[in-house]
């Protein structure tokens, strides 16, 4: 299992590999790294690098690409916002903050982020605790429920919220007969849909953490006569605290970066990500949009740094030899069934939301004519076919490139020594911390003129896909590589193979599970991306998510629902294919990441 406890992970996704828990023992990353680095930091490092031109070239190319497609776009945003007639100036921020229509979104975004992160973490914790510590039935079902939101397009919840709780909504009209009017447009609506979307992040983080807490401690407390409640309060909860803090920070960043849901459901509750977009596409104000993007970037980067460099270092997770297999389960009927009931309630809500999309997609005209029809799917596969084709093609190009590039970076970072290695790792992670809206604005600024003229091409979309989603692949690759003794690779080198051959023949096969996990993640992200790509889609290349947003904007809710269902089907098919490939090619280790599991149980 790849978890955060070594201090390296920032990904919201933990990929679980099917291994018995007691084999999950590997030395803390920092220690290994320092140890290995100390062993290898010899003056001959650079010399050795020059003896391997292919390796040197690889390092240079990776750096050039990271610079061009990660650093440069961000730099362009800073340049545009801080430069006034060739001089450094904060004028644009003074202008920005003096206007109510800019200050409000900042306050709104932060408020919403805090609320969503707390509520989302709470729900994630309930699921994680129930599944790791409580003897409840239907665990598999709950695991699927808690992880499904990850593969769903991010704005599906909003669409569903309208279908359920809008004035013509299933719940408000059919069930409650208009007795209650829900205020879904605005803060409360966003709070609910973002919580239901992002609690999965907390679940996966906390599942990893709770799973890693040595049960011997809890067993000991039990033997000494502590009650289960006391154990929870004085052992489990304190040990899980860094994980909880991590989850809160991760969800906070995700909520800040969320674009699809606020586009649909914000109403008058303006938030930063969408305002930056509207400032650019509506007001034709690049400078103002770039400045808003920086306002959005600052809290995200703070959350990222706190999470990566402070919280995850404070991990109390105990890594001792072999954790004892016995794990106490909460089995007192009252506690057990109240937790089970709570999980069941939450799961029903989630199922209700996704089920509604399925229902909405076969309704003729939502709100006026509820007869059933396949027309919406006909629409999707006729008018929408171009969008589907482009999305599948571009995602399929980006996914393997991103996968290989991520493994190359992971390999270089863990196994090779060269100046700027740390920076390279950091830059590859940066893409993850920066909200999509910011990246999108950076891309149109950076690639709009010669010599880097890419706007309007498929290349800009593919590049955006690759460099947006590379961080998770790099992280899983790094974590996986650190478990593998370098002596195998050293043997290969000693026998005369150079770095590229070693990488291809030895390293890559060894880290296949991480490689495929990266592939799966990237593909899902490509298929559901919207916040960044909305800036770079063009007449020639368009994406399904953009079509959905257009349908929702026009209130063609049933069409939007059908598009969403189709995206999910394609994602599940792709995950199944990747899973199939892993099982066939991945050797003995079976990849068991949550998504594939989701697939199998549907």
């Amino acid at each position: 299992m790849v978890s955060d406890r070594e201090g390296g992970g920032i990904s919201p996704l933990r990929w679980h590999f099917d291994e018995p828990p007691n084999e999950e023992v590997f030395p803390p990353m920092i220690r290994t790294k320092r140890f290995v680095a100390a062993l290898r930091r010899t003056p001959s490092d650079l010399k050795r690098l020059f003896q391997e031109p292919l390796l040197l070239m690889g390092i240079l190319l990776v750096n050039v690409f990271l610079f061009l497609f990660v650093v440069l776009p961000l730099f362009k945003i800073f340049q545009l916002s801080f430069e006034d007639n060739g001089r450094f100036s904060l004028q644009v921020f003074v202008d920005l903050m003096s206007k109510r229509y800019n200050v409000q979104p900042l306050i709104h975004s932060l408020t919403l982020g805090v609320a969503v992160s707390i509520l989302g973490t709470l729900i994630g914790f309930i699921f994680a605790y129930a599944i790791t510590r409580v003897d409840i039935p239907w665990k598999r079902f709950f695991t699927v429920t808690a992880t499904f939101p990850i593969i769903a397009p991010p704005f599906m919840m909003s669409l569903s919220a309208i279908l359920l709780f809008g004035k013509q909504g299933f719940v408000s009209k059919m069930i409650l007969r208009e007795m209650i009017q829900f205020k879904i447009y605005g803060f409360w609506g966003l709070l609910v849909v973002e919580t239901l979307t992002y609690f999965s992040t907390a679940y996966l983080t906390l599942y990893g953490v709770l799973q890693a807490i040595d049960p011997a401690l809890e067993d000991a407390a039990l033997d000494l006569g502590a009650s289960k409640g006391k154990i929870f309060r004085s052992i489990t909860l304190p040990l899980a605290t860094p994980g909880i803090a991590s989850a809160i920070l991760l969800i906070f960043s995700q909520s800040l970066a969320d674009f699809g849901n606020p586009m649909i459901l914000a109403g008058n509750y303006t938030i930063l990500a969408t305002q930056a977009y509207l400032t650019i596409v509506g007001m034709y104000n690049m400078k103002g949009g770039a400045a808003l993007a920086i306002l959005l970037l600052i809290p995200s980067l703070i959350a990222f740094c706190v999470q990566k460099y402070w919280v995850s270092r404070k991990s109390y997770v105990t890594v001792t030899g072999k954790p004892s297999a016995a794990r106490i389960k909460v089995d007192r009927p009252l506690t057990k069934y109240s937790i089970f009931g709570l999980c069941l309630l939450l799961a029903s809500v989630i199922f209700l939301f996704y089920g509604m999309i399925l229902f909405g997609s076969v309704v003729k005209l939502w709100g006026a004519n509820h007869s059933l029809t396949w027309d919406n799917y006909v629409h999707v596969f006729t008018i929408g076919w171009e969008y589907i084709k482009d999305t599948l093609l571009l995602s399929s190009i980006a996914t393997p490139i991103a996968g290989v590039l991520a493994m190359v970076i992971a390999f270089l970072v863990v196994r090779k020594n060269f100046p700027g290695k740390r920076l390279m790792e950091l830059v590859s992670l940066l893409t993850f911390a920066v909200p999509g809206t910011v990246v999108g604005i950076g891309y149109i600024l950076a690639f709009n003129q010669r010599p880097l003229l890419l706007t309007g091409t498929a290349a800009i979309i593919v590049l955006l896909f690759i460099f947006r989603d590379i961080a998770v692949g790099v992280q899983t690759g790094i974590a996986e590589l650190q478990q593998i003794d370098p002596s195998i690779e050293e043997a290969s080198t000693d026998l005369g193979a150079d770095s590229s051959v070693t990488f291809r023949r030895i390293t890559l096969p060894l880290i296949t599970p991480a490689f495929y996990a990266g592939l799966a993640f990237t593909f899902v992200k490509c298929m559901t991306a919207i916040s960044a790509v909305i800036f770079v889609v063009s007449g020639k290349w368009n994406l399904i998510t953009i079509a959905i947003l257009g349908s929702v904007e026009n209130s063609d809710l049933s069409q939007a629902a059908a598009f969403s269902v189709v995206i999910i089907i394609f994602i599940l098919l792709a995950l199944w294919l990747i899973q199939f490939l892993v099982n066939r090619l991945g050797g003995g280790r079976k990849l068991k990441f949550e998504k594939a599991e989701t697939l199998q149980s549907i």
């Binding site: 190319l61 990776v62 690409f65 206007k99 109510r100 229509y101 409000q104 809008g166 004035k167 013509q168 447009y185 605005g186 586009m263 109403g267 008058n268 303006t270 509207l278 650019i280 596409v281 509506g282 007001m283 034709y284 690049m286 005209l365 939502w366 709100g367 006026a368 004519n369 008018i383 190009i397 393997p400 490139i401 290989v404 590039l405 190359v408 149109i444 709009n448 003129q449 003229l453 890419l454 706007t455 309007g456 091409t457 498929a458 290349a459 593919v462 590049l463 690759i466 889609v537 063009s538 007449g539 020639k540 368009n542 257009g550 904007e553 026009n554 209130s555 063609d556």
Partner: protein, 326 residues
């Protein structure tokens, strides 16, 4: 290897075939498809198109000015085209097909843009709501301020939608700018929310999310009653503004000849007849008008000054945002 692949992906897409017309359209995608498919059938010229709101088209064209991606801008109110002309994004074309009937403000005096339909601003009302609450339909701009409509009205942001900007310019022309902004401040209290797309509020009215959507007459018919929603259109007695829907060639576009063909085709009787599907009023006098569509003679129109609206676009929007705070 990944590096090589990335390079490989980058190169082939930079070159493009010449017999395809690339365009942005601000028409609803379902509607645009009708015209574009008919054009392809008639002329055998292929079309690649993207739908965006008129404001987005303008931004996109501005951003791409050094490297235009399209040759034609199809649909959107003339005020947006006037702004586009001012930005130097368009090139003139005087269509021989339109020459006999495009008079006065139906096209740009210097042919930078060409009009192809007419539509007036009106109110799309959810009939169920009005019956249930026993409230009379709004028939004036002042009616919209009534307290019973609190949180029941929807419109788009004037900075993302041509419809909403036309509305803003219309009230400015009727009341004078200062009074118009006072008016909107009061109106804002009754607004449920602002959309990015101008016609979205009609479906929202149809769905009962709101009671009144402020939109163009053809959108009220096409996206409301004709789809089966309980929506009825009314028009303000003080007079209302209107749009001349336009299309224009893009400066530096790589397919100007195909673009001209598209403009000529759009003005032909054949194409103008098609506009019945969306209840637009065609400008070609030979074309047929959809039954029930709102003609210029049906409503009281103000003397809508497109030039003023187009030239004051930025200023009015900034003022609006400052005041409303959105």
């Amino acid at each position: 290897m990944s590096v090589l692949l990335a390079l490989w992906v980058g190169t082939p897409v930079l070159s493009e075939a010449a017999d395809v017309l690339h365009m942005y359209t601000a028409l609803d995608p379902n509607e645009a498809k009708v015209y574009i498919e008919a054009f392809i059938k008639d002329t055998k010229i292929n079309v690649e198109w993207v739908r965006m709101s008129a404001g987005e088209v303008l931004t996109r064209l501005k951003a791409e000015a050094k490297n235009p991606q399209v040759s034609l801008w199809f649909g959107g109110p003339s005020t947006e085209f006037i702004a586009g002309k001012k930005e130097g994004l368009l090139v003139p074309y005087n269509s021989p097909v339109g020459a006999p009937f495009l008079k006065g403000n139906l096209k740009d005096a210097e042919d930078y843009w060409t009009g192809f339909y007419f539509g007036a601003i009106g109110f799309g009302n959810n009939t169920h709501w009005f019956e249930k609450n026993k409230v009379p339909y709004p028939t004036s701009w002042q009616d919209l301020l009534k307290p019973e409509f609190k949180g029941q009205i929807s419109i788009a942001y004037p900075y993302t939608s041509g419809t909403a900007f036309t509305t803003l310019a219309t009230v400015c022309m009727i009341m004078g700018e200062d009074k118009a902004f006072d008016y909107w401040k009061k109106l804002d209290a009754n607004i449920h929310h602002y959309n990015t797309s101008g016609s979205a509020c009609v479906t929202q009215a149809g769905l009962g999310e709101i009671a009144i959507g402020i939109a163009f007459s053809h959108d009220i018919l096409a996206k409301g009653s004709s789809k089966g929603y309980p929506v009825k259109g009314t028009f303000p007695s003080e007079g209302t503004g209107y749009e001349i829907g336009g299309l224009a060639l893009i400066k530096g576009g790589s397919e100007p000849e195909l673009g001209k063909k598209f403009i000529d085709w759009t003005l032909s009787k054949r194409a103008q007849d098609l506009m019945q599907v969306w209840f637009r009023i065609p400008l070609n006098p030979e074309a047929e008008i959809a039954a029930g569509a709102t003609k210029a003679a049906d409503v009281k129109l103000i003397n809508y000054d497109e030039e003023w609206a187009g030239n004051n676009n930025k200023r009015l929007i900034e003022k609006w945002r400052q005041m409303i705070g959105k």
